[in-house]
Assembly symmetry: C2
Homo-oligomer: 339 residues x 2
């Protein structure tokens, strides 16, 4: 961290004047530097050609720092992943901060470094940004918006319209980890081993799957807020088809399952950050599973169910003990400010 | 406003589950509908070709409603204008809300309608978005991020490197109005006539200027936070040249000038929303002024000064009474949360 004349963020850092300039020069511009950002204009100018995906998310996770990450890498990975779910490789991000007066510079700095590292790992450039400051008590330390652009993979053909009866539903990894980690920090629950958030960039994995399987991937979704149950319900609703899943196929870490029981959560509703759901053509599904298991963040992938013509707009879970139950969309708020 | 089962925003509206879906279906998707938004995916997919500008801003203005506008049209116009300052016509926006629990639905609805109307006036489509909710006391009613993309005008060649000694400095309209309106609302100051914020989209005006004057426009900047003084200082600093302006040429509404005196502000530091500064080739400046005065929001334009080789990195004001003084960048924070 550079030597600065201030230890905490104050309202002047959002003035657009001298203090904003000082903060940017010492921080953002130096840490994140790249030729497009370096123009210091109101926006970045770049060449784009072809089919592009465009996605935005604001991040308000609390606490800001948690086992396995912080709001900075979450904000980069989250938007990179939303683009990946469109079949796009993230190329450019914007970065907008809403800081609360009094935020310690040391925390701001740690978050900035995490942003830089997450952007490097994802292979994305941060090319334009904004910094606002609100008075103490009018925000909560730091909120971040990232908005991303990336070219659609030439072999991608992802849309709800392509979901068909018989399609298989793959989940790329252990579910419910992120939500349980955040909740355990808030409630002071301790685990025997170190459980960490699954925040990760999925773009490299998704692009490699698209290289091999292209249009056999009908739909991609990341089950963040609302969890797996909500995404499956959105698929059932928007595709006007049914979804069936098998409980014994759901990949959940033993400790996470235990914590869910302890805290009274169903892992199907708990938020994920580094997990995606793929709806795949039946003929390709087994090969896709095998490939996915060989890729980054895919080792624990499973085929958890399929799309059916019966019970349209409904998600049915086949339980371990042989029962069936309807899985609804998340109602109310289970874990506020999970991302 | 549609009939809904809720009068205020609650944490469930940010869950990503059923309540988020209800809010979106009843609100955003219906009010803002367009073919790209209607896909309801994690991001929008669109065709882009050529040189594009990309810009982001978060809006935290307080109060949320003010004479002449609200945070909704401000958020659309602000990002449209940042793109215009790159020489680009805004085409697509993302829209991300951070709502505070307890925000009355009626206020949310008014803001949403303003967003729709501002987008229509600017000719821009909102194609992807996000909604988060934070607990009461962890935000302040509503914060909005908009991030925009637009094609660079084929005749635009705007960059700090093109600023030359002799270039003229044009201001497109009355300065300091937005800041004074916000401050007067906060402090309960009343004006004899109705003074309203200058929030407006500048893209149509800028594109028409580019049609006619193309590369004779060397630089465009909108003096929002930090005001005219800060933008001129950034130009002087980054172009390594001096800037001279004449106080008697600065367009300021009489009431705004009076309020500035009353409140102890220098209009050069007060924020604007619907005003831009153009740095123009000297041979074209007079014709550009004439044209600008015939365009929307340009009636009160003035040539206020020029770029000089002497006193590099310094902005000098020639006062009405014949004196000269250095105009520095805004230090500290004059009017927090002006945009």
């Amino acid at each position: 961290m550079p030597k600065l004349d201030f230890d905490v963020i104050n309202l002047g850092h959002g003035s657009g004047g001298l203090l904003t300039n000082k903060l940017l020069e010492a921080g953002v511009f130096d840490v994140l530097k790249n030729p497009l950002l370096d123009t210091h204009h109101d926006g970045a100018v770049l060449e784009m050609n072809g089919q592009m995906a465009f996605s935005t998310d604001s991040y308000v996770v609390s606490p800001v720092f948690f086992p396995g990450g912080n709001i900075g890498d979450l904000a980069v990975n989250g938007t990179v992943n939303d683009l990946a779910m469109c079949g796009a490789g993230a190329q450019y991000l914007s970065l907008a901060f809403i800081l609360e007066e009094g935020l310690p510079m040391a925390e701001y700095w740690d978050i900035l470094i995490s942003i830089k590292n997450a952007a490097q790992r994802a292979g994305v450039q941060i090319i334009t940004g904004d910094t606002k400051v609100v008075e103490r008590g009018k925000g909560d330390k730091i909120f971040i918006n990232t908005t991303g652009i990336g070219a659609i993979h030439p072999r991608a053909d992802i849309s709800m319209q392509r979901v068909r009866p018989g399609d298989r539903i793959l989940i790329s990894g252990h579910i419910a980890t992120h939500g349980i980690v955040i909740m355990s920090v808030r409630q002071g629950v301790e685990f025997e081993t170190t459980l960490t958030s699954d925040t990760a960039n999925l773009n490299h994995t998704v692009l490699q799957l698209l290289d091999t399987f292209g249009p056999d991937i009908h739909l991609l979704r990341d089950p963040t807020r609302g969890g797996v149950a909500t995404v499956l319900n959105e698929i059932a609703r928007d595709a006007h088809l049914g979804v069936e899943i098998r409980q014994d196929r759901l990949p959940v870490l033993e400790e996470v399952a235990g914590a869910c029981e302890l805290l009274g959560f169903d892992p199907l509703y708990v938020a994920n950050e580094g997990v995606f759901i793929a709806v795949a053509a039946p003929a390709a599904a087994e090969a896709m599973l095998e490939k996915l298991r060989s890729l980054e963040y895919g080792a624990h992938a499973q085929i958890v169910g399929e799309v059916v013509e019966t019970h349209p707009r409904q998600v049915i879970l086949h339980s371990q003990i042989g029962g069936r139950r309807v899985v609804n969309m998340l109602t109310g708020e289970q874990l506020p400010r999970i991302c």
